[in-house]
Amino acid sequence: MITIVQLALRPDDTLAGVESAVAALEAAGIAAVCVLDGADTGEATAFESTTLCGRLASTTSEIGLVASNSALYGFPYHLARRLATVDHFSDGRSGWLLRTRSAASEAAAYDWRSTGGRGVELHRAAEYAEIALELWDSWEDGAQYPDKASGDYKDDARIHRIDYRSLAFRVEGPLDVPPSPQRRPVLFARFDEAAEAALLPSVDVAIVSDPTTAAAATAPLILRAVPAHTTPDEAERLRAATGAHGLALHATTDTVPEACALAVALGAARSPGDTLAAALGLTLTLGGRAA
């Protein structure tokens, strides 16, 4: 069964501790680890998710690396660049968990401020994702072709501006990063209620906790969130009752052994050399706005 782990970093987690926990998850056949940092957990930690995933790209070889990054704050262009970089360094194992809520630490830390309305937040997150998707798709196949004889390094005619304009964002593009092995990271989001799932249509993997939300989610892959200490039978019962395709285990470095045992009991498996999308059985579509 497709199983991922949401690893919530704790304040006292060390680099060595996190790395050995992720190595254990990789050995247990977990498809992906989704790193939750202080903005997700509300507790300050030593690491931020996207940069820790950059490091893990070099210490792991098979497990998917899903970085939590706000879809409300900062710049979509930077998000697109940093995750394309992780995809390059990890040979196509990158994912993005869209953080669509304003964490306490960041509520008054950025230029943009949330009014707290979920509709407004999710609309902004949907645009943020759309921009990133268009940037990742701004190079046509074959646009990068270093030809030493002619001196042509790339074909600008096959690289396109995105010219995205909305009330919130203006991004010209194209992305400066050449296409990565997966072309783009796999997009993940956690949904707490059915209305949320409908407002964020572009995600590939929806993490849910109830059947109504699962039914409303348009994502091709739906995972049921369960704690790491759940028994295999109970985990399977919850997954089936939710109508989900797989499981998203919630763990900390302390409970990683339980998550590994559960994954092994459920027959989690991954093939060497798989991209994250392949490990999840997904075919990634490109582009943002429909043509």
Binding site: L15, A44, T50, G54, R55, S58, F75, H78, P146
Partner: protein
């Protein structure tokens, strides 16, 4: 007191900083970005006891032919991913103060500091160009002086966030900052970097750039095409630092040098000529210079002088480069075609001095400039990677060590130990 030793940095790029690098026979272009070169260069630079490897950055697509040398992947992610390759050398990541939010940078840089074990430095740049601005919700860039005002305030906010960040022993404190560019009321949710903040590096030769550097920087990447000019810059930076109440030794000036190395002088000269030719072949060099000078030179005789009286004051592109090429043309009596060729083939290497020859020759030149008081060390604007770093570490480093000019072992494994600093002052005093 022992004689001060040189500090060394290398520019980390895929094929070297020379635009013709990728076309060289030794360059592997089978996979782009060329991550294996990044890995090889940091390992080799660490074998050569370098202080740091530096990643430049401009977050925008380079249209046209001459854009194969820029780093196009995220510098903090590169620093994190490369941290497993080495244990001593520091990585300097470039970050734009015009197109970032301080809180995001404070979080991510603190995290990279943690994964590298305190081996992170940040090169803050104001970024130039309207095209870059258009990736970040702006119609165009801010005027030159405002970009530097924003840089100052940006560094101020990130420094305050780190100074008040949580540690293993204490909870973080809230930072309430309300300024012209930023309104931040927050407590950092990532722990404080090992030395209180990452090392601060700056470049920039305009008066505003020098002032920003003297106020904040632990190290500066400097350019200088003659000893006189480099001495003037060195003394000016140290004097400005003193005016800010700083110890002049707390700011290290690293002079850019582009060494073309060969076993013989002929071999080195041939390497340089080959790379220049690779890059310039089929290119409209006059159009390139027109872009830099913001003046269309196509109607002028390429074999005549630059029309100095007609050139506008450059404001939107990089002022430093336009000034440099105009001065070069005037002082060396170059034709438009000659200066255009130079501006095109050298790229950034023109901002530095180029040294072409055997390892002994390059070591001689480095010693001469170092002892003339032009710098505290060098930033290798490596024209061809990995060739330049391999040849430098195997050929030049042993000579510098023999002459007592360079370390024979690392003093420690953090960025402060490389610079002989026991701790970094938080610079909060500067803010207050």
């Amino acid at each position: 007191m022992t004689r001060p030793k040189m500090h060394l940095s290398v520019n980390l790029t895929e094929y070297g900083r020379h635009s013709g690098g990728w076309r060289h026979a030794v360059s592997d272009v089978s996979r782009i970005p060329n991550l294996e070169t990044y890995r090889h260069v940091v390992r080799t630079a660490e074998r050569g006891l370098f202080d740091q490897a530096f990643i430049a950055d401009t977050p925008v697509h380079g249209w046209g032919r001459s854009s194969s040398t820029t780093t196009r992947i995220d510098p903090l992610e590169i620093a994190a991913a490369l941290s497993t390759e080495t244990a001593h050398i520091a990585i300097i990541a470039t970050l734009s103060t015009s197109y970032n939010e301080p809180f995001d940078v404070a979080r991510r840089a603190a995290s990279v500091d943690a994964v590298t074990g305190g081996r992170l430095g940040i090169n803050y740049v104001a970024s130039t160009g309207d095209q870059t601005a258009r990736n970040f919700h702006r119609a165009g860039q801010l005027p030159h002086d405002e970009r530097y005002q924003r840089s100052n305030e940006f560094i101020e906010v990130v420094t305050k966030l780190w100074a008040n960040a949580p540690t293993a022993d204490a909870a973080g404190a809230r930072v309430a900052h309300r300024g012209r560019f930023f309104d931040v009321d927050a407590t950092l949710d990532v722990r404080q970097p090992r030395h209180g903040r990452p090392l601060i590096v700056q470049a920039g030769s305009s008066p505003a750039g020098r002032d920003l550097a003297a106020r904040w920087a632990d190290a500066i990447y400097a350019g200088g095409s003659t000893i006189d000019r480099a001495q003037e810059y060195y003394q000016d930076i140290k004097a400005r630092a003193v005016a800010y109440g700083r110890d002049p030794d707390s700011i290290k000036v690293l002079l850019g040098i582009a060494p073309f190395l060969g076993d013989t002088a002929e071999e080195a000269a041939e390497l340089q000529a080959t790379m220049d030719a690779h890059h310039a072949e089929g290119a409209d060099v006059v159009a390139h210079l027109s872009g830099l000078l913001e003046y269309d030179l196509s109607a002028h005789d390429p074999d005549g002088p630059l029309p100095f009286d007609l050139l506008p004051e450059v404001t939107s592109a990089s002022v430093s480069q336009a000034t440099l090429f105009t001065r070069m043309a005037r002082e060396e009596h170059l034709t438009i075609a000659q200066v255009a060729y130079r501006s095109y083939v050298g790229g950034l290497a023109n901002m530095q001095f180029v040294s072409t020859g055997t390892p002994t020759h390059v070591a001689d030149v480095m010693q001469e400039w170092f002892e003339a008081g032009t710098c505290d060390g060098y930033s290798l604007v490596a024209p061809l990677l990995p060739q330049t770093i391999d040849a430098f570490v195997d050929g030049v480093v042993p000579i510098l060590q023999e002459r007592g000019l360079f370390r024979t072992e690392y003093e420690g494994s953090t960025i402060t130990s490389h610079f002989g600093l026991s701790a970094l002052d938080s610079r909060v005093a500067v803010v207050a």
